[in-house]
C-alpha cells in the first residue's frame, strides 16, 4: 500500500495550506466571537462573554442597516443581470457578422479587477469629471451628484455591478441555449404554441439547471461585493451603499473590538451559507424529486 501513502503525500501540502488559512481562521473567528477582546482597552485580555457580542450585533442599527441595503443591492443586481443576460443570450443565437468578435468584447469586463471597475465608474460619475453627470445636465438639466444623493449612489452601484457581471450570465446562458435539442421547439411550433408559452413551458424548464448554477454563483459573488463599492462611494453617502463587506472593512475592522468584529463576521458568514443553501434546496429539490 505504498502507493496510497504517496497519494496522501502529494495531497498533503494542499491540505496543510488550506487548513492553516481556511479552516483555522474559521474556527478562530467563531472562538473569538464568544469573547470580549480589545487589546487597546483597559483590560487587554480575552474574557469569555457568552453570546453577548451576538446580542449586541443583532441590535446594532448600523449593522442592520447594512444588511438591509445589501439585500436590496443583491436583489436588484442579480435580477437585472438575469433578465438582461437572457435577452443578450437570445440575441446571440442568430448567426450574424462578427459574432465571435462581439462575444470577445462582451467578455472583457469579467477579467477586470473589481477595484479598477470601481475606479472606472468613479471617473464616469463624479461631478465635473464624469461624462454621465455632464450629459444628464446638458440633455435634461438633471443635477446628478453621487456624493449627496443616496438613491443615485445606490443605483450607480447596481449599474456598475450589471456592467461588470452581466457577461457571465450571458455566456453561461448561451452555453445552455446552444446545447438545447431542436425537437421540442419544432413540435411546439407545429402545435401552435406562441412565444410566451414556448418560453415558460419549454425553454425555461430546459435551461433551469444552468439558470440555478448562474444565480447561485452570482448571488455568492454579489454578497461579497466590497472592492468596487469601496472605491466608488466608500459606502456613502451616509450608509446608503455600505454593504456588509464594506461595513466590516470600514466600521468593524478599524475598531479594535475584536470580539464584536468576529461576531459580526460569523453572522455574515452564517447568512451567506443559509442564503446559498436555501436557494440550492428550493430550486434543485423539486426537480430531483420529479426525476426520482
Amino acid at each position: 500500500m505504498q502507493s496510497r501513502k504517496l497519494g496522501w503525500l502529494l495531497l498533503a501540502p494542499t491540505l496543510i495550506v488550506l487548513f492553516l488559512f481556511g479552516v483555522v481562521p474559521f474556527v478562530y473567528v467563531v472562538y473569538v466571537s464568544f469573547h470580549d477582546w480589545n487589546p487597546f482597552a483597559a483590560n487587554p485580555d480575552m474574557v469569555f462573554s457568552g453570546a453577548n457580542n451576538f446580542r449586541r450585533a443583532v441590535f446594532d442599527a448600523g449593522f442592520l442597516a447594512s444588511l438591509g441595503v445589501t439585500v436590496a443591492f443583491v436583489f436588484f443586481a442579480v435580477l437585472s443581470e438575469l433578465v438582461i443576460g437572457y435577452a443578450l443570450a437570445q440575441a446571440f443565437m442568430k448567426d450574424f457578422p462578427g459574432k465571435a468578435f462581439f462575444r470577445t468584447i462582451h467578455t472583457l469586463p469579467l477579467i477586470m479587477a473589481p477595484i479598477i471597475v470601481g475606479s472606472i465608474w468613479k471617473l464616469m460619475t463624479t461631478p465635473s469629471i464624469g461624462i454621465i453627470p455632464s450629459l444628464l445636465d446638458s440633455w435634461f438639466g438633471y443635477d446628478m451628484n453621487i456624493g449627496q444623493s443616496a438613491a443615485t449612489a445606490f443605483v450607480i452601484t447596481v449599474i456598475m455591478d450589471i456592467w461588470h457581471w452581466t457577461p457571465l450570465v450571458t455566456l453561461t446562458l448561451i452555453a445552455a441555449l446552444v446545447s438545447l435539442p431542436p425537437d421540442p421547439f419544432e413540435q411546439a411550433q407545429i402545435d401552435g404554441a406562441n412565444k410566451r408559452q414556448i418560453f415558460w413551458h419549454i425553454t425555461l424548464p430546459m435551461i433551469a439547471p444552468a439558470v440555478v448554477a448562474t444565480v447561485f454563483i452570482r448571488l455568492m459573488d454579489a454578497l461579497r461585493t466590497v472592492d468596487e463599492v469601496l472605491m466608488l462611494t466608500g459606502g456613502g453617502p451616509g450608509s446608503a451603499t455600505r454593504y456588509v463587506g464594506v461595513h466590516i472593512f470600514k466600521e468593524v475592522f478599524p475598531r479594535t473590538n475584536y470580539g464584536y468584529g468576529s461576531a459580526v463576521s460569523v453572522i455574515v458568514l452564517y447568512l451567506t451559507i443559509v442564503v446559498c443553501w436555501l436557494l440550492y434546496v428550493s430550486m434543485l429539490a423539486p426537480r430531483n424529486s420529479k426525476k426520482g
Binding site: 448554477a213 472592492d227 455574515v268 451567506t272
Partner: protein
C-alpha cells in the same frame, strides 16, 4: 433558429459593445489629459495625448515598489497554486483514497466564503499565531502568497481535475512497468500532457491574485503592498489628481487585458468553477 435580419443583430451588438467599451475608453481619456483640462466640461474626444501621468506614476518610487510586489506575489502565488493543485489532482485522480471526493468538494467551500469575513481572523492569526520569534507573516510577500492560496488553490484544483482525469491511466501503468519512479511518471509522462490545462490555470490564478484588493489592504502596511492597494491609497490621500488615479488604474488593467486575450475562451469555465462550459 430564429428569423430576423442578421445586420439588425449586428447593429444591436455594436450598441452593446459600445456600452461595454465606453467606460474603459473613458478611463483612458482621463489618464491622458493634463489636470487643468479636466475641470472644463468633460469632452469625449481627445485633442492630444499627454503621457505625463504615466511618467509620474513610473517615477514614483513607492508605486514602483507596489508594482514589483504585485508581480512577485501574483507570480509566486500562481506558481505555487498550480504546482500544488497539479499534485493534488494527480493524487485525487490516480489513488484510491477514502473520502477523496469529500476532500475535493471541501476545497471549493474555501473559495465560497466572503473574504471580508476572514479579514479579522487572518489579521489576528498572522500577528499573534503564525509567527516565529520576531518574524510574523503580516506585511510580507510570502504571507500574501500563502493567503491568496485560500481562493486560488481550490480554483486550481477544480480546473485541473478534468485535465488530469483525462490523461489515460494506462500511460502511467506502462511507465511503471518500464521501471519508472512515481516522480518520473508525474514529471515526464503526466506533466507534459497536462501542459495546456496547466497554462490556463497558471494564467487565471495569476490574474485573480493580481486583481485582489481586500486582503492586501488589511494584511499589508508597506513592505508587501500591492498596486491595487496603492490605487485606493492614492485616492484617499490626494483624491483630486484624477489623471494619476486613471494612470495607475491603466497600469493595473493592462496585464489583465493581455492575459484576457490569451485565455478568453476559458474565462467563463473558470469563473463558474467549471459548472458551465464557456
Amino acid at each position: 433558429m430564429k428569423k430576423g435580419n442578421p445586420w439588425l443583430y449586428m447593429l444591436f451588438w455594436i450598441f452593446v459593445s459600445f456600452l461595454t467599451l465606453f467606460p474603459i475608453y473613458w478611463l483612458f481619456v482621463i489618464s491622458v489629459k493634463p489636470a487643468v483640462d479636466l475641470f472644463s466640461t468633460p469632452d469625449i474626444l481627445l485633442d492630444g495625448i499627454y503621457w505625463q501621468n504615466y511618467i509620474d506614476v513610473l517615477n514614483d518610487r513607492t508605486l514602483r515598489g507596489y508594482m514589483v510586489n504585485s508581480l512577485i506575489i501574483s507570480s509566486g502565488n500562481a506558481l505555487l497554486c498550480t504546482t500544488l493543485g497539479f499534485f493534488a489532482c494527480y493524487a485525487l485522480s490516480r489513488f484510491n483514497m477514502s473520502g477523496k471526493e469529500s476532500i475535493f468538494f471541501w476545497t471549493i467551500t474555501n473559495r465560497m466564503a466572503p473574504p471580508a469575513v476572514f479579514l479579522l481572523p487572518l489579521f489576528l492569526l498572522m500577528t499573534q499565531v503564525y509567527r516565529v520569534g520576531d518574524f510574523s507573516l503580516l506585511d510580507t510577500r510570502i504571507g500574501m502568497i500563502l493567503v491568496y492560496c485560500t481562493f486560488n488553490l481550490p480554483f486550481a484544483i477544480w480546473t485541473l481535475r478534468p485535465t488530469v482525469d483525462g490523461i489515460p491511466k494506462e500511460l502511467d501503468e506502462a511507465a511503471y512497468v518500464d521501471g519508472a519512479s512515481p516522480w518520473k511518471v508525474i514529471t515526464e509522462v503526466v506533466f507534459p500532457l497536462c501542459r495546456p490545462g496547466l497554462a490556463v490555470t497558471l494564467i487565471l490564478t495569476w490574474v485573480f491574485a493580481w486583481n485582489e484588493y481586500l486582503l492586501a489592504a488589511t494584511l499589508t502596511n508597506f513592505n508587501a503592498r500591492t498596486l491595487t492597494t496603492g490605487l485606493s491609497e492614492y485616492v484617499t490621500t490626494t483624491g483630486t489628481e484624477w489623471g494619476i488615479m486613471a494612470a495607475i488604474s491603466m497600469f493595473t488593467l493592462i496585464p489583465a487585458l493581455i492575459v484576457f486575450s490569451m485565455v478568453q475562451k476559458h474565462i467563463v469555465t473558470g469563473l463558474t468553477f467549471g459548472a458551465v462550459k464557456g
